[in-house]
Amino acid sequence: MFNEGMWLLVGQGLLETLYMTIVSTLMAYIIGLPVGMLLAVTDKEGIRPSPTVNRIVGGIVNVLRSVPFIILLVAVMPVTRFITGTSIGSTATVVPLVIAAAPFVARLVESSAKEVDRGVIEASLSMGASTMEVVCKVLLPEAKPSLIVGAAIATTTILGYSAMSGFVGGGGLGNIAINYGYYRSQTDIMLVMVAILVLIVQVFQEIGNLIANKCDKRIR
């Protein structure tokens, strides 16, 4: 059952999964990081409180986060096709992954930014820092360890989503698990796929914690 061809397939699936996960995480952060900061800054306890902006952006984030991923996957197919020219394969999966992950990332970033000591922000304002300077020179660097832990959580969550995309031909390990393990009832293949996914989650989480601890100057 596990012949050479099968292992080749698994290897390719693994690469696809990593590709989807990493590219989606990066793009989710390109969108989610500024949005999360915007949410933290415009919060009523933030440095530029703006209930209107906060409610609108927060509302969009909440709506996107409450759509189950499997439904989003199908619902955004026209958009996916428009952007990538296809709705199957791992590149196509990146589109719904980013749409689903960016709001999640935004909330993670927001909560990390809010952990930064209010006093430090006040001190930087007392030295004449602008809102932008507070974000770039205080919030981001001071929240760095927490942001990295958040990134590990985001990556593993996106990994899980990417496996789900196997149902609609998304490629990767999830696709193999569904095609062979579910449709052909080859339970052993399914188990191997799950084991590999568990292993990847462990690795990402450990790397995240390690970097976070390493760069956190509060721990000595």
Binding site: E122, A123, M127, G128, K137, V138, K217
Partner: protein, 338 residues
Amino acid sequence: MSKIPTVQINNLNKTFGTGDGAVVALDDINISIYQGEIFGIIGLSGAGKSTLVRCINLLEKPTTGSVIFEGVDITTYSDNQLRKVRQSIGMIFQGFNLLMQRNALDNVCFPLELVGMPRKEAKERARELLRTVGLADKEKAYPAQLSGGQKQRVAIARALATNPKVLLCDEATSALDPTTTQSILALLKELNQKLGLTVIIITHEMKVIEQICNRVAIIDNSRIEEIGTVDEVFRHPKTMAAKKLIFPKGEYVEKISGDGKYLRLVFEGNSADRPIIANMVLKCGAPVSIVFANTKNIDGQVFGHMIIKLPDDEEVFRKISKYLDIENITYSEEKDYV
């Protein structure tokens, strides 16, 4: 002291919230602080002193009233102008508020980055400042590796980086032990004398005021109750709020009941050898009772004050006041509260 105050607070009010839920934090505050002064603002927690100091650099916007900094009303300034002004007003805090992910040197560099000073120049300046505060060997240390006193020294160096005219200290020594408090106060005093820095100190500790302030304002219930030189206010506190602060509860403040006159005698370095009270009793032939006394003998001189109760007799009072005048002892009659 120059004639124009460095910081002048005029009819300042601050209310949090609106309508029924409104809380008055500051009520008609008027203070003038002059260049080179160390000015203390003392009050119990909740009196409004932290809000007041935040109104000086407008971290807190006053509801009404104005803050004049070096002759200019900065309450009318735009955000951009305010950021510039804040570079001339340093601030240190009870919680130090250092950037935890930056080492001591980079913390001091932070305000210099904000003004766009080139990195190399900023590092030079930061090193010089760390030397000034006595931490030349700690430039690579992160805040987590420093003690409370050292953290406050870094914070002071950081606050001074942009050569401010005024340094605001918000309970800057309240989180420190007595010895460290002493050394931080000594440093502030030194900076005040060396740089001509105007220092505004917010505290709830009498000792801080006593030790380094020239003038003091007592704030209670959102209002300034008393302003004067430290000597004046501490020796002859006029208001209830001042007395409460200077003589903590139970030790001193009591409502006077019954007949008789109460006199407060103030000893300002009289000889400890002279039996002043005993002589007074003998010379004036009056039985007085000592209601309260808090005196210290320092190098053979007496400092402190004492409350005595006299019989309700004008003649005795005249004799005693004459005696006290001759002995050169300050006294005042106390009513309602002692």
